[in-house]
């Protein structure tokens, strides 16, 4: 066994000790692994302190190129992530990875197994890998992904790879988080109609047909090409390329293909930056972020306050008894929260406490 290295940062301080916001932000900027991973943990746990820290980190974000990898379970997303990490490291770029796996709807547990394919990078200081469980989110990601991207961005990672759970057709949340989206497909996934369906097929900036040595790869390539030919122009002036990869465990041809994939991703990002498309995507992302924050910062707070004052139960009784309707009740709630005592009450509540289970 080789003598390995442990990511000892010069600036390392254990997670205990003086933890003013400024010091924590400083540690994150210096790439302190424990601070970064603990903050992501606090974000996942919906800890109000994490929200405060994200506020301070926000001005440091916006530098990283965020790449989404999505596709069905077993399509080869983690193997491709692993190869892309190697490739980007050769380019001298630092890489952050967020890999999402599903949470059990029965026990709340999860097997986070994407690291298995990427563990050879565990001793590389330029790579930070964090696994996340969906914890009930249904769009292919986890609620914490958005803010975890900010943390890795503030940490100074050049490239951030976000690997979704194994998705079906409608898990398209990644479109609101990534600049460039790779859809990994494999042969034998159905007929031609699948390639023209709405949903995940529409959000790809790059198609990667993996396991292209298996039967049906040429057919899939043709069908996908025809589906793209049908498109009436492309929103960003970018026709998504289709690349085929024979996943032969790090062979020369495989690595050459991965290099092609990487250079196409870079090309896509250049195009985004040189046009207004990047600004449009950032605005769309901003809309989603604000709506998300408003949900937890206003809507969820209002619901909790209604619970506390007993009004929620009253309203449900009225609604179930048909003495009122949801729209009239919403009008009543709006009038209610505009009152001074309610305004003060809402302002005093922290933003991210998890209130959804109560509704």
């Amino acid at each position: 066994m080789n003598k390995g290295t442990v990511l000892a940062e010069q600036t390392h301080t254990p997670a205990q000790g003086p933890n003013t916001t400024d010091r924590i932000v400083e540690r994150i900027r210096n790439g302190d692994v424990r601070t970064v991973s603990r903050l992501i943990r606090n974000i996942e746990d919906k800890n109000p302190r994490a929200t405060e820290l994200i506020k301070s980190l926000f001005p440091l974000t916006g530098r990283a190129h965020v790449i989404g990898l999505t596709g069905a379970p077993g399509a080869g997303k983690s193997t491709l992530s692993d190869a892309l990490i190697t490739n980007y490291r050769k380019q001298g770029k630092t890489v952050g990875v967020l890999a999402v796996d599903p949470t059990s709807p029965f026990t709340g547990g999860a097997i986070l197994g994407d690291r298995v394919r990427m563990q050879k990078h565990a001793e590389d200081k330029g790579v930070f890998i964090r696994s996340l469980a969906t914890r009930g989110a249904l769009g292919g990601l986890s609620d914490a992904v958005d803010e975890a991207i900010h943390v890795l961005d503030a940490m100074g990672k050049d490239i951030i790879l976000v690997e979704t759970v194994g998705t079906g057709q409608s898990e398209v949340d990644i479109m609101n988080n990534a600049h460039s989206i790779l859809l990994v497909l494999t042969p034998g996934m159905g007929d031609e109609v699948q390639t023209i369906k709405a949903g995940v097929m529409e959000i790809a900036d790059l198609f990667v047909i993996n396991k292209a040595d298996q039967p049906g790869a040429a057919k899939l390539l043709n069908e996908l090409t025809r589906a793209l030919d049908m498109a009436d122009g492309f929103r960003s002036g970018w026709r998504p390329p289709i690349l085929t990869v024979e996943n032969l465990a790090q062979s020369e041809p495989f690595l050459a293909k991965v290099d092609q994939v990487r250079s196409k991703i870079d090309e896509h990002y250049e195009l985004l930056r040189d046009s207004d498309v990047l600004k449009e995507r950032e605005r769309r992302k901003a809309g989603v972020q604000l709506k998300h924050a408003l949900d937890s910062g206003l809507v969820d707070k209002v619901v909790e306050s209604l619970h506390e004052s007993g009004k929620w139960e009253e309203m449900l009784t009225a609604l179930a008894g048909k003495q009122s309707d949801p729209y009239s009740l919403t009008e009543d709630i709006v009038s209610l929260v505009c009152a001074e005592d309610w305004r003060q009450r809402l302002n005093a509540m922290p933003i991210t406490a998890d209130r959804r289970e109560k509704t």
């Binding site: 601070t35 991973s37 820290l53 197994g113 690291r115 563990q119 696994s131």
Partner: protein, 136 residues
């Protein structure tokens, strides 16, 4: 606040490639409601420790069948301590002779589970002795 979820890393240090036990345990931890980071076989202590730090786990479970546990388990404990991460609980399992247990405990491995230990005993030990982390 949402309930905090316990995070645990299951790893196989060393050269043996028999991960059936480790996978059964990972699955049992999943069913107990833990988030289980699984890193697979042939891991060096350095890889395991770096993964534990990046994943902010509360506990590291090591499985070794090759006989190298006396070298590998304490190495993981030492590297965690060097990183100021001795708050992460380290437990071990696999083919561990009885006479090696005192040494492993002395070197900071907090509990050893040998073949035949009921899964519920292991889970209940973890629930009793490991708690999810607090805020920064």
């Amino acid at each position: 606040m949402a309930d905090k979820t316990l995070r645990i890393l299951v790893a196989k240090p060393g050269l043996d490639g028999h991960d059936r036990g480790a996978r059964i345990l990972a699955r049992a931890f999943r069913d107990a409601g833990f988030e289980v980071v699984y890193t697979g076989c042939h891991q060096t202590p350095e890889q395991i420790v770096n993964a534990a730090l990046q994943e902010d786990v509360d506990c590291v479970g090591l499985s070794c069948l090759s006989g190298a546990h006396k070298a590998l388990f304490p190495k993981v404990v030492d590297l965690l301590r060097e990183q100021g991460a001795d708050d992460i609980v380290v437990v071990g399992g696999g083919i561990i002779p009885k006479q090696d247990m005192p040494y492993l405990r002395e070197r900071g491995v907090q509990e050893i589970f040998t073949p035949g230990t009921p899964l519920e005993d292991i889970i209940s030990w973890v629930k009793t002795n490991v708690s999810p982390r607090d805020e920064l």
